[in-house]
């Protein structure tokens, strides 16, 4: 006889694609990696906020001057024509990210991503105004008292101020920041500057103040494809399950499982990487008398996690490798007088008792591509053409017939002086074409960083040229340090 199996829909996929998401209150933690992140925040945000104010040779050191279509990066000036190098730089940045991901996992996420560093600063402000984790939870749960209003508005005031300053700095990379500062002082921004300051400020405010870990979990594409760069030798943050389990509360003074196991296990059980003893795999000896592993189930690692996961459940996509759980666990291990490293930076290879390889095909290939690109970029940027020559043939008429039977073609020469000096340039026909000559002036002065549009007329004598003829123009300066050839075409009527 068959009996119906009771069924219930656990999750209706039409209603919710995601798990329930309570607000996360990460607990503050001090430790090696937290301090490393503070250093990263100061260096990166310091660069961001101060760089636009640095001057170089009478101009802003780093300025992507969009209104003037010129990019200054310290001593170098880039033009729209140099876009190739910008693309090259972006590819270098991407390969660098791949390389470091393969080597050390989500270093980017934990220490360098703008989302991480700004969230960190917004958390500092939140802590300053609303107190530590428990105070914040209490404050949010409590009624709207005078104190709550004061604390919340202080936080909002600081957040908004920082956001606007961030937006201002961001726009300062694209329009000269001194002008922008004057405009700010008199509140006379041009419409678009004001718009982008508010836009970028609002994005910072929303992402670092409210979205936080949700950006990493649900919006960040890198989080989804970084696993493609991972292998068994990539540095990950992992809980040593063999050493920690079974977890449980205990009295102080119970020795670590390592204290017992190191007596039995050979010294080769030491992790080469962190120097902390490992009880992974086969080296683990029978557990201590109370049958507990080293995890005391204090949940400190869960409370500090900014994405609200439990690292003891294994490697998860939400883990941004911020190492807050390592810091938390290390401090607990210190209190228990246990060796550190129950949660640590390690690799899958090390966890399964194999040796970690740093040089392997994946890292070698990324490193080779990266080196080649950087060398090519450095060479190319320092050997860029000092002068760009473009020859545009007159669009309206292929040729003009003159009264004496001669044929004229009109051109516009576009000369871009990419040097920082005034250039006196002469224009000539490259191959000595007796039938063809330049009418009008052949000498041009182009100011540094300027574009000169020079009308140019080529003239062929009667019956000198039939049909289409390739011509080569030569533009050079007096000492011939600039010497650019450019091909174009001369048109005359076909043979009658």
């Amino acid at each position: 006889m068959s009996r119906p199996i009771p069924l219930t829909v656990v999750q209706d996929p039409g209603e919710s694609l995601y798990a329930a998401q309570p607000k996360i209150y990460p607990r503050e933690i001090d430790g090696r990696f937290a301090r490393l992140r503070i250093v990263a925040v100061f260096v990166l945000l310091g660069l961001f906020y101060l760089l636009p104010w640095v001057r170089w040779d009478g101009h802003q050191a780093v300025l992507f001057d969009l209104p003037a279509r010129k990019f200054y990066v310290f001593g170098l000036t880039f033009w729209p024509q140099d876009f190739f190098w910008l693309a090259c730089l972006l590819i270098i940045a991407a390969i660098t990210l791949f390389f470091f991901t393969a080597l050390a996992g989500r270093l980017w996420c934990g220490y360098a991503c703008p989302q991480t560093v700004w969230t960190e600063v917004f958390l500092w402000i939140e802590r300053l105004c609303e107190g530590r984790r428990n105070q914040r939870i209490k404050l949010d749960g409590g009624k709207w008292t005078r104190e709550k209003i004061l604390r919340k508005s202080a936080k909002q005031f600081l957040w908004i101020t920082l956001s606007l300053w961030t937006g201002f700095t961001f726009v300062g990379f694209f329009t000269p920041i001194l002008d922008l500062g004057h405009a700010a002082a008199s509140l006379s921004f041009s419409g678009w500057e004001g718009f982008w300051i508010v836009f970028y400020g609002f994005a910072t405010y929303g992402n670092a103040g409210y979205m936080r870990e949700q950006v990493c979990k649900y919006m960040c594409p890198y989080a989804r494809f970084q696993s493609a760069m991972f292998d068994h030798d990539t540095l990950i943050i992992s809980y040593d399950e063999a050493r920690g389990e079974p977890r449980g509360h205990r009295k102080r003074g119970v020795p670590s499982v390592l204290a017992i196991s190191t007596l039995a296990a050979p010294p080769s059980a030491l992790d080469g990487d962190s120097g902390s003893p490992s009880a992974s795999g086969a080296s683990r000896s029978p557990p201590s008398a109370n049958a507990l592993g080293d995890c005391i189930a204090c949940d400190a690692c869960v409370q500090v996690c900014p994405t609200g996961i439990d690292i003891r459940d294994g490697l998860q996509i939400e883990c941004i490798a911020c190492a807050a759980c390592i810091d938390a666990c290390d401090s607990v291990m210190d209190k228990m007088a246990y060796p550190r490293g129950l949660i640590r930076y390690t690799t899958e290879s090390l966890l399964s008792g194999r040796v970690r390889r740093i040089v392997r095909p994946r890292t070698a290939i990324y490193a080779t591509i990266l080196t080649a690109l950087i060398v090519a970029f450095a060479w190319g940027v320092t050997h860029r053409a000092a002068l760009i020559v473009d020859v545009l043939h007159d669009r309206n008429a292929l040729y003009r017939e003159m009264s004496d039977g001669g044929i004229e073609n009109g051109y516009t020469l576009k000369l871009v002086n990419k040097t920082d000096l005034v250039q006196n340039l002469s224009i000539a026909l490259e191959d000595d074409e007796p039938a063809l000559r330049i009418v009008g002036k052949t000498r041009v002065t182009v100011e540094p960083g300027q574009v000169a549009n020079v009308p140019l007329t080529l003239r062929a004598d009667r019956d000198g040229i039939k049909g289409r003829r390739r011509v080569e123009l030569l533009v050079r300066n007096d000492d011939d340090s600039i010497h650019v050839e450019h091909k174009s075409e001369f048109f005359a009527p076909e043979e009658k």
Binding site: V9, E15, L17, A20, Q21, P67, Q214, Y218, M219
Partner: protein, 108 residues
């Protein structure tokens, strides 16, 4: 019991709001990023003031205005495409859920 029920409903509503917000984020952010890249590539080659000359020469369009229009035009395209994809996918998921529910109900 009814208290439990209303609390569960409240939680479901909260989840739904959060899920919607996340869907908005998942549509807005990648499309914003793609529009940014497209704008950089496009305006590296094309000068907006020259573009203004060949389109609406009688309107005074500054370069900043040109960049901004260009960026929002790209963003409108990518946002529209991403939102449409999200709509198509969510309709499929909803239908699958409804069919599953019907099968369950008819089985009882």
């Amino acid at each position: 019991m009814s208290d439990d029920n209303s609390r569960a409903q409240e939680r479901d509503a909260g989840d739904l709001r959060a899920a919607r917000l996340r869907r908005v984020g998942a549509v807005a952010w990648p499309s914003f990023f793609a529009a940014g890249v497209a704008s950089v590539v496009f305006f590296a080659i094309v000068d907006p003031s020259e573009l203004a000359d060949i389109t609406w020469p009688h309107l005074a369009i500054s370069r900043e205005f040109g960049y901004s229009i260009g960026f929002f035009m790209f963003w409108a395209c990518t946002l529209g495409s991403s939102a449409f994809t999200a709509l198509l996918l969510s309709a499929r998921v909803k239908r699958a859920a409804r069919e599953r529910r019907q099968t369950l109900e008819s089985g009882q």
